[in-house]
Amino acid sequence: MSIWSRIAHAFRPGSLDRELEEELQSHIDEAVESGRDPEEARRAFGRFLQTREQSRDIRVATWLDSLRADAVFGWRQIVKRKVTSGAAILSLALAIGACTSAFRLVDAMLLRPLPVADPGSLFVLRYEVLDNDDKKDTADSFEYPLFRQLRTAVRGQAEVMAISYASQVDLTFGSDEEMEKAYRQYVSGWTFETLGLRPELGRLLAANDDTKPGGHPYAVLSHDFWKRRFGGDRNVIGRTFRQGTSTYEIVGVLTAGFTGTETGTMTDLFVPTMMNSKAIDNPNWGWFRTWVRLKPGVEGEQVRQKLRAAMLASRQEKAKAWKSPGAKHRTEQYLNAAVSLESAAAGVSGMQQTYRRSMIILGVLVALVLLIACANVANLLTAQATARAREMALRVSIGAGRARLLQLVLMESALLAIIASALGGLFAAWSAPFVVSMINPPDNPARLVLPADWRVLGFAVALALAVTILFGLAPALRASSVKPASALKGGEDPHSKRRLMHALVAAQVAFCFLVHFVAGMFVSSFDRLANQPVGFPPDRLVLLDTQAKKDLPQGTWDQALEKLRTVAGVESAALATWPLMSGNAWTSGVWANGHTPDREQPVYFLGVSPGWLATMKIPLLSGREFRLNEANPDFAIVNEAFARRYFAGQDPVGRTLETSGAKDKRFTAQIVGLVRDARYGELREAIRPTVYVPFNSKDDNGVAKGTDWGAFIVRTSAKDPLQLASVLRREVSSGRPELRVSDISTQDALIRSKTLRERMLATLSMFFAAVALLLASVGLYGVLDYSVIQRQREIGIRLALGARSNDIMRRVTTEVFSMLIFGAFIGLALGIASERYVETLLFQVKALQLSVMLWPAVTILGASVLAALPPVFRAVHIDPASMLRSE
């Protein structure tokens, strides 16, 4: 027999007791048979019960037995009070689920190490830059010539890899009609070896595959893409696909797990950096991140200094060739930029940058909701503890120790927490992918690996334990410190219990206020951002990004446009370099009216066809639209912001402007129109000076130039513009197979994608605010209700003596409402203090705005009044006669 038999005994205590009893009884029988007096024989056993207990304790894991007994008892208690327990479990489940879900996201996005060898020794290089507003920021894009120098500088101490940004590309395994999209990363040939990755099939890229520009058309597929696109076909090795002008051969498939280095994006295929041949020798084309793997025993700081020295040396060279150096402090910054090595153990992605702070803040909000839920359940349990004071006192008087009582009450709390965790786990399983789906820009799905593994399980278990102690300990300590004499008399000091409850109410209100405060700031940020004027009505606009295999003459594009205009349901159509707010930007220096280009405030350019203004419904203030056969750079239309900067707000129509072309040559264009400001780029920035030029353009020698890509902008009469999508797509290519629509979206979706983060923050924080409010109101109701029950007798007497109802009302609510106000003030202080942590996520919103402060105050007060109504109503309607009679 062993610990197992003892544990087994703990779970079938009945049979063990029977066995012991039978053995002792047979002993007595034997004694009586041998002539002993039955009474004496029984007495000889002394304390029969005690003997049995002693024997029993030996054969049963005692602690386990008492735990089991407590669990059974606790379960009965929980079942007995269905409503309270249900409320406790649901509120905890919601909070635990939200917490687990938040952890899954934070873990997947920011914490989980890449599935490569020794992720701890991986770093990426970042450097400091000044943004448009002269604020410090960091960047991580590198050019290949510089990369070569960096690699040489730290040879022997660290391996340096170029890993490009994951970008979505069009490729085909067959004909052009079957173009499909995939995420691709360019990687240095030695990357896989350096990361310690292995092939599932075929081979991975090696250093030899990355030596000559354009000379290595080999690709490695991710396991995920192989499964998804080829169904795990093992004959995929040797197959070819075309992407851009290159034909690649698939040489291998990675093992499952590794999905690229950009957390949030799953890379489908990897090709050698040398295949980006146009960029290899270009010293101004930053297109990849520089990854560093430190050799064992090498100090990061040492490597960082060498890399910085090499980088700044190359910048010195570059700056020498600058003709127009721009502002002095910018040049200085450029030549002295700080360089840092940042851990890349969890991968590196723009999504991490964008959402890191948001996720941490949401995590804190969720934790606050969890605290509120805990305070709430603690209150429920404390209220119940009163009802159980007599039971506890009874247990103490028959010899139960304090530790034993503590265990009894904590066991019940643990049961609540376990049930809540299980429900919360289900909630988390559903909600984490839901949140990921919320941060999806159109046509660019965020795909996070969200496994429910030991990390998540461990977190959930730790959380359940922490929660049990948080909400269970205070009531348990209180219950176990019961003084039998006073409790059995029924006259314990009622105020001490209420003080704890009131403190918990104050804490709940403070946290609730904070959650509302932050949520309010996010909501009004989102509101302001979403309502930023864009300068044109975005509804019913379909955007067709279109590509051609080679430069096509303007005529071909015009034909396609004409065809689109004849489609039923199309109001008007036009061509542009790209849609407004697409995220693309074309900037150039402008000389006009005596002004010279401002390096810090570049002017936006956009090529548009005749009819574009009408299609976009951007009002023409003066002059005219472009005509057919007008070409860039001879003509230009400018916006108001341009007129303000270059012409002091006067009508510039009829004047000229100069732009720079290639090789610093200048071109003159005649301004033929002035239009209302329309938004070209981000919602967060002011509308910038913009020059619209004809889509139709000429090269430096004045010869008409073809184009290989553009965007058709179509305004439809249908409410849902995407209804026409397939018809429009077909019309573009019909008779012109050289034109292919690569992407269809709507202007509305494009604008919405600019507010994704704000929308997510606003939606989720509102959700948590609502949960917090609900929990806090339930908590308040519970405390008030309890205090009314406690004071029934007192209230009865007061009423009998002629107290008026508003007096009773005041008595019942004063304490609680003062706690509420107290909590609200603490919450407000916390909220104002928190502003600097959320500042970067806010848009035109300040913590000290009246609207921001008022909103949580009003909601919480309103909810409190609602929650207080039923108990107060009950207090006022106590019938003194029946109350006193029952006492």
């Binding site: 027999m1 047979s26 000889a44 005690q50 003997t51 002693q54």
Partner: protein
Amino acid sequence: MAKTDSLQGSLDLMVLKILSRRPNLHGYAIMTAIKEMSDEVLRVEEGSLYPALHRMEEAGWIKASWITKDTGRRARIYELTTTGKNQLSSEEARWQAVTAAVNQVLRMA
């Protein structure tokens, strides 16, 4: 009459020894055996015997089984295990050493 408790560990030793000679005794028989063999000098109390038996069973020195006696009554009988035999020899050796030492002290003092 001396209480066996006064001699630390002697109860376990006696039970093991008796069971090594006469296996398959039940509790009452073990108690009687100790009483008779010690000429009624040593008397084990039921309150000590059973917890001791169950402790030894738990330790794996003895094992128990239920039998039905001729009288039709069920009884729980005990026998030594291999571990119990080893335990007995080491306890016995220790007991001899201790009593010899105590005797020597009594002689020399």
